[in-house]
Assembly symmetry: none
Homo-oligomer: 204 residues x 4
């Protein structure tokens, strides 16, 4: 195995170990020793890959969040042009996919909610950190463009939708209060639709 692959594997192992421990014991009581042990590397080696625990955490959360968005786009097939759906329905489709996934992976939800700051979201999730693929942000704009409709402030729209969803879903999915996820969805989806509709600039 070549050196770069080896390094990638070690990084991967550190990510996996850290996510496990963060989910189980919380970040505060997870030490670098714990992570290194679980990843079966020496403590000193940790520092060859990350500056410290929080550097790892930031990179991990960005990685996880990006993966969630990318997976949701792939799973729903939105923007692949096959089906002909309204922007509203496409957004709802994506949101629903994410919510269902979070329901099945509460640890992931907990971890992302607690650790994803808007700063990280912008830098690493929306912005492109590599040249390879379209970012989620690009896909979002492409989706709006294809619809042929015009929106006043697409960034604000995205922001509000993201905050509404993340705010509402945490408590509901993890605790089932004050309503269950299935009870929340109608109101949530309707609110999202209203937001989108109202952001549209009426064509003459």
């Amino acid at each position: 195995m070549n050196l770069d692959v080896k390094k990638k594997k070690k990084k991967e192992a550190l990510f996996t170990a850290a996510f496990d421990l963060f989910s189980t014991k919380g970040i505060k009581s997870t030490s670098i020793s714990d992570i290194a042990n679980k990843a079966k590397i020496a403590k000193g080696t940790f520092y060859l890959y990350f500056k410290d625990k929080f550097d790892l955490r930031d990179k991990l959360v960005a990685e996880k969040a990006k993966r969630v968005l990318v997976d949701a786009l792939e799973d729903t097939g939105v923007n692949k042009g096959n089906k002909k759906l309204s922007v509203e329905d496409e957004v709802i489709l994506i949101v629903d996919s994410i919510l269902e996934r979070m329901k099945n992976e509460p640890n992931l939800l907990r971890f992302i909610t607690k650790n994803l700051s808007w700063g990280i979201f912008q830098t690493m999730v929306l912005g492109s950190d590599d040249g390879e693929n379209m970012t989620f942000y690009d896909e979002y704009h492409s989706m709006l463009d294809k619809s042929g409709r015009k929106f006043r402030n697409p960034d604000l729209l995205l922001y509000m939708v993201v905050e509404l969803i993340s705010g509402c879903s945490y408590q509901v999915i993890l605790q089932g209060t004050p309503v269950t996820l299935d009870e929340l969805k109608p109101d949530l989806f309707q609110t999202i639709k209203d937001m989108i509709a109202r952001q549209e600039i009426a064509e003459k």
Copy 2:
């Protein structure tokens, strides 16, 4: 000065010192020694008032959050029966009052946003821990009642509004991104109005 008053003053001093330090250095790097020093009491005395740093934090955040809500009710005069406003307008009034305050006290916003969990919110902010006054929760229901209108799930409504506001305001007020507070307000308020309206059960 009598003993109970003395104890209250000490607790107050601890709260003040802690809020200052938490705001300045963050909770993690504020030690109990720091707090005790700033409050001019002995380290050991701290433990006569709080179990540990996190006990203090929870009680402090609940106290602060409750104060924000109570002040907003008082400042807007809502529910005092003077003006005749729609539920929507009353809610908007309260929300606006809170947003303006947060704009002026970014430390307070930061502290509450980072530390107020929904659990604490329910237990200590909404629930009554003393028999003296109406809680915010009581006031909220009384407001809905007085309007003569019926709503499907008032608790869900409250939940969604709170989450929307707190989600959206943090980034906007503290960083001015992706829009300024004044740019956010129209959309935010309209969304809130829509939410309330849609929760109403149509009278025959």
Copy 3:
């Protein structure tokens, strides 16, 4: 109730509370606060009765040990002159009475074994701390005298018997190893008899 009686009651309460806590949590992790709380007196009051935790412990263990010996004398009726038994049989009778009691009060056994030093034993158990009664030590000598037999070194005899019993009984009663108490007794008693017999100075 008069003042002296009140003080005695408080001391009694402290003894009881302390013995309970020492037995349950160990001396090291029992604080003076704990004792005062359990005895329902204020912490400061503790110091009106004892110098510190170890002063209390020493007085408590002496009290308990003396009580064990006195009770054993009373329960067996030895030295009351009624029955005509050999010294050996009288000693065995007393030892057996103590062993049975310890079997029923393991906390007492644990507490005495761990805390009764030979120094305390001599000063407070053998020596008379008040003029009222015959001490155990006096009774012991009186018992030997009445038998009409002569012994080389009665103090050494007492010492060796006490050490043998206390050494052997702790493990056996509390853990049942390496033998049970009933299995131990024949050998133990026989050894004691041998010791006594061999200490006798042969009459011409």
Copy 4:
């Protein structure tokens, strides 16, 4: 110097420092800082070798006790088959060797007596923690076997002898009361002989 040797040396240094301090100031008032300082290592390093002060104490006392027994066997040459002695005389020889040593090392006697529980004795002193050598327990049984005699309960015999000796010697050696060691010996040895003899199962 290789790593394992270095580690062994550090452990040795910790043992030595701890024994010194425990003997001088008592365990309770010896802090881990004290031990680390005396051993010339950093405080944190202590925890790489022992869980806490009591872990060190237990291992230290087991080590010391085992050494005493092993040395006594070596010094007396018992079980090496040279001289032809009765079991009784062999035991007396060993006991005498131990008593004399304790007389010369009162700190060792104090430390062992205060800290060696029967549990530790069984687990760490009698049981084998490594495969290298015969344990004291094995040697004891081998000694009985070689004699060609049969004993009812060798374990009980060992237990009673150990308890008798340790109980009697502490006070006598350290304080000279109620008799001196030399005055104690005849009675002590005779009692041991009686115990052994009485444990023998008579041959037909």
